[in-house]
């Protein structure tokens, strides 16, 4: 085929242009570390990358939710543990009070103890772990849950769950929804106090002991439930750490370059650029006119 001079130059220009294009592409990739700059670089990958970013964002949010829920649940668990030891003390007081041979001083001491337990129970029930939210108010967060009206403790919270999303399809309550039972417990302790005052050892040894033991196992169960939730948080956190790593890896695969490959590409492109330039200088030196000039 006949090759015209203009075509020859045009072709060489194009070759240099192309080599330069590719060279600057890889220079950019190596310096930014990114493979994907525009959606059109990899449309399927971009959409995938956006979805992965959303998942990562969501995982971060679930992580924050889990930390928040853990604070509340741990405070709840501690409160239930305190109530557990309070119940142990109450049981001891009842067994001691049920003894017929008890003298008046000892009985008075027991009454004082039971009164202190009642005060402690009210304190536990009305606690605010972060200074603003009541642990046992349910969704009625800012209302003090327990108030004494005429010696009877009443529950003013709503006992509704404070739900926290810890997964797209899993919300758990981060509070203890049976808090109203604390009032019942308080009023039971008032019964015990009265029976101690009247020396009703029969009631103490039968009904009171039985009721307190029932409360013990009930609150033991509550504490267990809270523990189960805390373990669930733990499990999700472990799961999320693994999933996050996996997603970040997938995202890097889509968006970022493999540095080793990129640098070898860069070197290769530098070579082809040099080659294109060299071809240009060689070819433009070859021309029949140059050979004629001497003749």
């Amino acid at each position: 085929m006949r090759i015209s001079t203009g075509w020859q130059f045009w072709q060489m220009e194009r070759a240099i242009e192309r080599a330069n294009d590719r060279l600057s592409l890889w220079q950019r990739r190596v310096s930014t570390g990114r493979r994907l700059e525009q959606p059109s670089d990899d449309p399927v990958g971009s959409v995938h990358a956006l979805a992965i970013r959303q998942s990562l964002q969501q995982l971060d949010q679930y992580g924050r939710n889990i930390r928040e829920a853990r604070l509340f649940l741990q405070a709840t668990e501690q409160a239930l543990a305190d109530i557990g030891s309070l119940l142990n003390e109450a049981r001891q007081i009842i067994t001691q009070g049920a003894n017929d041979t008890l003298d008046a001083d000892a009985r008075d001491a027991l009454i004082q103890q039971i009164r202190r337990l009642k005060e402690r129970l009210v304190q536990l029930g009305n606690q605010r772990p972060d200074g603003e939210r009541y642990l046992f108010s349910g969704q009625n967060l800012h209302t003090q849950p327990f108030t004494l009206i005429g010696g009877v403790l009443t529950y003013g919270g709503d006992g509704n769950p404070l739900l926290v999303n810890i997964a797209s399809d899993r919300a758990i309550p981060m509070n203890f929804t049976g808090a109203a039972r604390l009032a019942d417990l308080y009023n039971k302790l008032t019964d015990v106090e009265n029976h101690l005052l009247t020396g009703d050892t029969a009631a103490l040894s039968s009904i009171d002991l039985r009721d307190i033991e029932a409360f013990q196992s009930e609150f033991h169960r509550y504490r267990g439930e809270i523990g189960v939730r805390l373990r669930e948080l733990e499990n999700y956190e472990t799961l999320y750490a693994a999933r996050k790593e996996q997603l970040q890896g997938a995202l890097a695969d889509i968006e970022e370059i493999d540095l080793t490959e990129a640098i070898s590409q860069l070197k290769q492109q530098e070579l082809s650029y040099q080659a294109a330039l060299q071809v240009f200088t060689r070819v433009q030196a070859i021309n029949l006119f140059d050979f004629l000039r001497g003749g």
Binding site: M1, R2, I3, S4, T5, G6, W7, W10, R14, L36, Q38, P39, S40, D41, D42, P43, V44, S46, V47, A49, L50, A51, R53, Q54, Q57, Q58, D60, Q61, R64, N65, E68, A69, E132, R133, S137, G138, Q139, N140, L141, H142, D158, N160, L162, L163, V164, N165, S168, A171, E255, N287, L288, F289, L292
Partner: protein, 453 residues
């Protein structure tokens, strides 16, 4: 037979070779001129001269014509292919610019803003009583709204620029058409006088090529050297007259409004711009649909909830699409954000949770995909369109390069070839000059013979 016959014969050869060298010089001078067609001198022997009934003597050479080396079929293919390339290349450039407006993937894109808002709702669901959580909902929502509005405005600006460019292409085509009409007249006049007006023809072919690049015009060559140019059914140039294209664009039909029949623009830069505008408009429509669904859905849920002040019926977003989405005046006080599904329960985050769940809830108004998925699909489409146009433009470029190479191999100037021609004509010229001096010597001998001593 004249005694000077030989000298005249030599002179004719000198003249012919001189023309050869001139044409070579013209070719060399135009080696870099775009659209130049290489010329070739056609030499032909002069008529023979009967010396006697048995002897017929040749009378030398003459330069019969100067040919433009051009393959008309190929030229027409190049024009068509060039128009397609112009269309695809314009579309590629414009779609790449449009794609950049979306700022994806990145922290400033709508996708990140949507994620931030849904996260803020999620946070609010966990801490419905917290003013800090409410503030961050406000912040995330207003950042999202402003990103919607900015993107919408940028798309509008881009659209009006594209419209201006389309108008500029039509104007340029009309301007070139008028020029072509005048050129037609000149060519016809020159052709009538016998000689082929090479440079005028080159100019004409350049105009035709640019016209087909602009609006996909096609040319029909007449015997008298003039050319008729038409777009779709519309005659753009005939003889000396140009009939300008109308300037009203009918985008859905990719046509120009015209009576009695609209002019369809099949290819060329104008078609590329029209395609780009149509793409842009469909992206913007999707963006508006997305914003509208977000406003409607968020408001519908939010209005059923209760603020910290235990009032209900508050709206969250104001506006109807991406152009005017803002935060509603109802929530200028963050405590009015309705996180709770029941009154008097500051710890209830039921509504906030429902709002967070919108992230992945399929929406009938979006064809059954969620808000975030719909946006991702839009980005996928934007990227796909840009990539496809890039690939098509690149493959068209290969086709075009091939055709240009064919054209260049016929019509392009090769300096090596011209150098060889130059040598050839120079040597021939020298030989002819030698011949004249030989005849001269001959005559001198004769004159010496007859001259008085």
């Amino acid at each position: 037979m004249s005694s000077f016959y030989g000298i005249e014969l030599g002179l004719r050869a000198l003249r012919a070779f001189q023309i050869g060298m001139d044409v070579t010089g013209h070719n060399v001078a135009n080696v870099n001129t775009p659209g130049y067609t290489r010329r070739r001198v056609v030499f032909t022997p002069m008529p023979e001269y009967p010396l006697s009934p048995r002897l017929r003597l040749g009378s030398g050479v003459m330069a019969q014509s100067i040919q433009r080396l051009r393959d008309m079929m190929l030229e027409q293919r190049i024009n068509r292919s060039g128009a397609d390339l112009a269309q695809l290349d314009t579309l590629r450039q414009q779609l790449q610019q449009i794609e950049r407006l979306f700022n994806e993937p990145g922290e400033l894109g709508l996708s990140a803003r949507l994620d931030a808002l849904f996260n803020a709702f999620e946070e609010l669901a966990t801490r419905p009583d917290s003013m800090a959580a409410r503030q961050s909902v406000i912040q995330a929502a207003s950042a999202l709204a402003s990103t919607f509005r900015t993107l919408h405005r940028d798309l509008n600006t881009q659209e009006s620029q594209l419209m201006e460019q389309a108008q500029a292409r039509i104007q340029e085509a009309n301007h070139l058409a008028a020029q072509l009409g005048r050129l037609n007249e000149q060519i016809r006049a020159a052709t009538a006088s016998g000689a082929e007006p090479g440079d005028l023809l080159d100019q004409r072919d350049q105009l035709i090529r640019r016209l087909s690049e602009l609006v996909g015009a096609r040319a029909h060559y007449a015997q008298d050297g003039s050319v008729m140019v038409y777009v779709d059914g519309h005659t753009l140039v005939q003889d000396g007259a140009a009939f300008p294209l109308p300037t009203t664009i009918d985008l859905p039909n990719r046509a120009l409004d015209n009576t009695p029949v609209d002019i369809r623009i099949q290819t060329g830069e104008l078609r590329g711009l029209m395609d780009a505008i149509a793409n842009l408009q469909s992206y913007r429509a999707d963006l508006n649909r997305l914003a509208n669904t977000l406003i409607t859905q968020v408001n519908a849920i939010h209005a059923t909830g209760y603020g910290l002040d235990n009032n209900t019926g508050y709206l969250f977003f104001d506006g109807s699409d991406a152009s005017n989405i803002t935060l509603h005046a109802d929530i200028s006080d963050p405590s009015h954000i309705a996180a709770a599904s029941i009154p008097n329960a500051p710890g209830n985050g039921g509504i906030a949770r429902a709002l967070a769940d919108l992230r992945n809830t399929p929406q009938g108004a979006l064809g059954g995909v969620s808000i975030t998925q719909f946006y991702r699909n839009l980005i996928g489409r934007v990227g796909n369109d840009a990539q496809l146009s890039k690939n098509r433009a690149e493959s068209q470029q290969l086709t075009m390069a091939h055709l240009l190479q064919l054209r260049e191999s016929v019509s392009g100037v090769s300096l090596d070839e011209e150098a060889a021609n130059l040598v050839k004509y120079q040597r021939s010229y020298q030989a002819a000059a030698k011949m004249i001096s030989a005849f001269d010597a001959l005559l001198e001998d004769v004159l010496q013979f007859v001259a008085p001593r």
